[in-house]
């Protein structure tokens, strides 16, 4: 199986492009390198869920609309992991929701979502929190409008967003307080 047999069967034109069917992909996920031989068309979200076994990242819409698959790429760039092939993340760094709590202590974003009742069914929550984290990296002191705009790529059907906005406001306060207390963290 060296060619995209199925694509050819569908009549797709890959003239001049040699796409191997199986590729070896190495991705650093939450600090640990995961190397697997996978189909070249495997989406990043399926690599994370099925190859790395981290099921906190979800699939909701298949069209990059809902954001429940959001992870952070190379630091704090939020990406919808259903929009990328796993091979596109080869050699790069991915952070998922599983990286947030350390030693059983919730991250300030997690704590804020809990305190403010920013979740109900919990399905959008991991992606929502990863987007919130990226937003707070860019803008540590966001206004309500900044938050609503920053989260607008992540859908939620249960909470009505009020409490999610409040949670991000609480997290912003907690994180700026902790970085003020620890100058080295602010420089990081």
């Amino acid at each position: 199986m060296t060619k995209t047999q199925n694509m050819e069967a569908l009549g797709a034109d890959f003239a001049g492009i040699d796409v191997p069917n199986i590729v070896t992909v190495s991705i650093r996920i939450n600090g640990k390198v995961v190397t697997r031989a996978v189909p070249s068309r495997m989406l990043l979200v399926h690599f994370i869920r099925e190859e790395a076994g981290l099921t906190g990242t979800h699939v909701g819409c298949d069209s990059s609309s809902c954001g429940v698959c959001t992870v952070l790429l190379d630091g704090s760039t939020p990406v919808k992991s259903c929009t990328m092939f796993a091979v596109m993340a080869h050699g790069r760094d991915v952070k998922t929701v599983e990286s947030l709590a350390v030693g059983g202590t919730l991250h300030p974003v997690q704590q804020a979502f809990w305190d403010q009742h920013g979740l109900q069914c919990g399905y959008c929550t991991p992606g929502m929190m990863m987007t919130a984290l990226a937003l707070l990296e860019r803008n540590p002191n966001p206004s309500e409008h900044d938050i609503r705009e920053g989260l607008s790529g992540n859908l939620c059907r249960c909470t009505g967003y009020n409490n999610i906005v409040k949670a991000v406001q609480q997290a912003a306060g907690a994180m700026s307080a902790s970085s003020a207390a620890d100058p080295s963290a602010a420089d990081d």
């Binding site: 199986m1 047999q5 199925n6 069967a9 569908l10 189909p39 068309r41 495997m42 869920r49 099925e50 981290l54 099921t55 906190g56 990242t57 979800h58 699939v59 909701g60 819409c61 298949d62 069209s63 609309s65 809902c66 429940v68 929701v97 599983e98 947030l100 709590a101 919730l106 997690q110 979502f113 809990w114 305190d115 009742h117 979740l119 109900q120 069914c121 919990g122 399905y123 959008c124 929550t125 991991p126 929190m129 938050i147 609503r148 705009e149 989260l151 607008s152 790529g153 992540n154 859908l155 939620c156 059907r157 249960c158 909470t159 009505g160 967003y161 009020n162 409490n163 999610i164 906005v165």
Partner: protein
């Protein structure tokens, strides 16, 4: 939510905004949703869907699909028929539904074949390559066209007509006479469009026959026990050989009540191929497998010149799609549409409904509502505004004049419901005060003088929830009730199990609070388990806001049963007769001797170490069949600004004042109100499953079917009043659906109020910018003087 604290007595565990016990696992990505479950040696299933809304199937050729590396099998209706599982009953048992298209397809995206493969990708490849030869047929996607029966959609049925059923209730001749004698009558056609619940987690399942030949069925189900019994009915597998496990659900909203063809195909595949089979819906499959609403309603309301209501008459045409799969109990084929008289006193009323087949997806799920009550509430609340406008009355004054008064409960409506309790006027007064109605009216008058479009919209709805009393309610003939099991361990902690199933409503916290309150124990020390038919007591599941009214009642009564057993052990410990004890301040106390008491924790230990002559242990199971439904109500107010040039509506404020009876956890209640309002907002302004004339479904993903984001969703203001239900063990009603039931009318009434100076009387939802813009332009051309 300050009102809750003032109107509800202080409790130990109930009435407190306790943080949710279930949240830490969700926050850490440790939820266990359906696609997180993988069984050893599992196959993956994908479905083939029809591109045509109505077509004969001349041939299905799966040879190319079987060439895909990893292909295992393709199944069509022929194979299912050979096993006797080609058709499944719909939930109210009035129709049956094809599992895979049998001879012809009846709606676009109908399931035609199932493909089984070693991997997810291979299964989808196979589905692409199954060659189906279709012969397209004439499409009927308008229920008014279906009435003529020129194209018969369902030749499999004995009745050779597209008409499904007629349902009516009330006094038709009395209503007609009263309308004829009324000073004033309004008539309006109002459509509640076809919408979809769209939980973010699609539906799915994993089916396995274990070493003992027992079906282990993991599935996204709001009603696991009903699934078990239904699977026995469909598949003929003895019920003890079926275990249904519903894991964490990523939302449901009614979408996870039906049994979908994919489930039957996964089970059939697991049985025949002797390997576990997983099937997870794509978003498009989720969007095209069911729907809610699609009611086309004509309403007439009579009134005297002073605004006193005289009569109400409703004629409805319901578009049920290809199969009559509406989630309605047998005795209520149109669900609780009979609540269409709302919060008002109508001396005469009559409601009539005819349902028809069309070439659309089947369903009619109870989308965040109790079986058609959303349609009814929207209709009456919209119509009351039209009447107020015609009579030149303030909409709140028309409502106040006609409210059922608090001293009239229990109130028998002309359409056969008995409302338990309510204080509509008080709730509306709280809303008017909190929103600052007087100032808003002043501001509106000033804006109107300047030609600006500002609207204030009200909805003073009454819900009907708590399905339900077994005398009225069933699914597939199974009576509605709920079971609760409580086990108190020696150390005073415990486990609670119910037949309901949380989809995000916070049952793990709420149920613990109810039991803790009744027993004087710590809610943190209770585990709550739902969703496994091997361990949970039988129950009809979670939908139609029935969990707190039914399972919540069962839990409170089960806890009281435990308390009565505990009383005997307490009497033994205190060496007094059990009638000398009273349950006071959350402990057993010898009457008149305040120092002589034992706590439930002490009794729990004794139940296993020193029970005396009493039966050891402290456990019970109880089933609760409620005597009546419960009737939460509320007043919602929307304030909108409409841009005259673009038609864009901005919801400036929205206040929801809910009366859900006793509140168990105000934080959870408020969260549910926020979520329901957002879905109501979506219905009013964005969401619609639209079809083109050829029958193409135009809403198959989140780029076409619009779900509000944080950016367009309004900020929600909430408050509560408390009129406990007199017949419920803890006085609780319910709240999860109220905001979705009550809010669409408030939004639409606000927009129509804004446009009323132009002479606009009604626009059907969704009130998109384009539609509002067209209404403004049309009004300006029709009545240039209004400019």
């Amino acid at each position: 939510m300050t009102e809750i604290k003032t109107e509800q007595p202080e409790k130990m565990a109930m009435g407190r905004s306790m943080k949710r016990k279930e949240d830490p696992r969700f926050l850490q990505g440790k939820g266990n949703y359906i696609d997180d479950i993988n069984l050893k040696n599992q196959l993956y299933m994908a479905l083939v869907h029809s591109p045509y809304p109505h077509a004969n199937i001349k041939d299905i050729d799966s040879s190319a699909a079987m060439e895909v590396p990893g292909a295992v099998a393709v199944v069509t209706a022929k194979e299912l028929d050979a096993h006797g599982v080609g058709w499944l009953p719909t939930f109210h048992g009035l129709d049956k539904q094809m599992v895979l298209a049998n001879g012809k397809v009846l709606y676009q995206y109908q399931e035609v074949a199932a493909c089984y493969a070693e991997t997810r990708e291979a299964a989808y490849d196979m589905a692409e390559l199954v060659a189906v030869d279709y012969e397209p047929l004439e499409v009927v996607n308008d229920p008014y066209k279906a009435m003529t029966d020129e194209v018969l959609l369902r030749p499999d049925r004995e009745a050779k007509t597209n008409h499904i059923y007629n349902w009516n209730v009330g006094d038709e001749s009395g209503t007609d006479a009263a309308l004829a004698a009324s000073d004033h009558v309004i008539r309006q056609h109002i459509t509640f469009p076809r919408v979809h619940a769209a939980p973010l987690e699609p539906c799915g399942c994993v089916a396995e026959f274990d070493a003992m030949g027992r079906l282990q069925f993991y599935v996204t189900s709001q009603a696991p026990h009903v699934y078990r019994t239904a699977l026995f009915m469909v598949l003929g597998i003895p019920e003890d050989k079926i275990r249904v496990i519903s894991p964490d659900l990523g939302g449901g909203f009614g979408n996870k009540v039906p049994i979908y063809p994919g489930y039957v195909c996964a089970i059939a595949g697991a049985l025949v191929l002797q390997r576990p089979v997983k099937w997870i819906e794509t978003r498009t499959e989720n969007m095209t497998s069911s729907f809610a609403r699609d009611y086309h309603m004509d309403i007439e309301i009579g009134a005297s010149t002073d605004g006193t209501l005289t009569a109400l008459k409703v004629n409805t045409v319901a578009d049920h799609g290809a199969f009559d799969a509406a989630a309605d109990p047998t005795k209520y084929p149109a669900g609780m549409f009979g609540v269409v008289t709302g919060s008002y006193q109508f001396p005469h009323a009559f409601a009539n409904l005819d349902a028809y087949f069309t070439n659309k997806q089947p369903g009619g799920v109870a989308y965040r509502c109790s079986f058609r009550v959303t349609e009814a509430s929207y209709l009456i609340e919209r119509a009351m505004d039209i009447l107020a406008d015609d009579l030149k009355m303030d909409p709140t004054e028309l409502r106040r004049k006609n409210f059922i008064r608090k001293d009239q409960f229990p109130y028998q409506t002309p359409l056969n419901f008995v409302y338990d309790s309510g204080d509509y006027e008080h709730t509306m007064d709280v809303a008017l005060e909190k929103i600052g109605y007087t100032e808003l009216l002043k501001e509106q008058a000033e804006k109107r003088a300047r030609g600006e479009l500002m609207g204030i919209g009200f909805s003073t709805f009454t819900e009907v929830t708590g399905a339900g009393p077994s005398k009225h309610f069933d699914i597939l003939g199974i009576k509605m009730f709920d079971g609760a099991e409580i086990r108190i361990h020696p150390s005073g902690s415990g486990i609670i199990r119910t037949g309901t199933k949380s989809q995000g409503q916070g049952h793990e916290t709420t149920w613990a609070q109810i039991v803790a309150e009744e027993l004087g124990l710590d809610p943190q020390n209770f585990i709550v388990e739902e969703g496994d038919t091997d361990t949970a007591p039988y129950g009809l599941g979670t939908y139609a806001s029935r969990s707190t009214p039914v399972a919540g009642g069962a839990l409170a009564l089960a806890a009281r049963k435990i308390r009565e057993k505990a009383r005997k052990i307490a009497a033994h410990l205190l060496e007094v007769g059990e009638h000398d004890l009273e349950w006071k301040d959350y402990k057993f106390e010898v009457m008149g001797v305040p120092g002589q008491s034992v706590t439930m924790k002490e009794v729990a230990f004794a139940a296993y170490t020193n029970p005396g002559d009493n039966e050891p242990g402290l456990e019970t199971t109880l089933y609760y069949d409620p005597p009546n439904m419960v009737f939460p109500h509320g007043t919602y107010v929307a304030v909108v600004d409409v841009d005259r040039e673009t038609g864009e509506t901005k919801v400036r404020r929205f206040l929801a004042v809910d009366d859900a009876g006793t509140i168990i956890n105000p934080m959870i209640v408020e969260g549910q109100i926020h979520g329901g309002l957002t879905e109501g907002f979506a219905i009013a302004f964005m969401q619609e499953i639209a079809y083109d004339e050829a029958g193409n479904n135009l809403a198959t993903n989140f780029t076409d079917y619009l779900v509000p984001t944080s950016l367009e969703s309004p900020h929600w203001e909430t408050a509560a009043t408390c009129t406990p239900s007199p017949h419920h063990p803890i006085g609780a009603k319910s709240v999860g659906e109220s905001p979705n039931v009550g809010s669409p009318a408030a939004f639409v009434n606000a927009v129509i109020d804004a446009l009323s100076p132009l002479g606009v009387r009604h626009i059907d939802m969704p009130l998109s910018r384009e539609k509002v813009w067209a209404a403004i332009r049309n009004a300006e051309q029709t009545h240039p003087a209004a400019d």
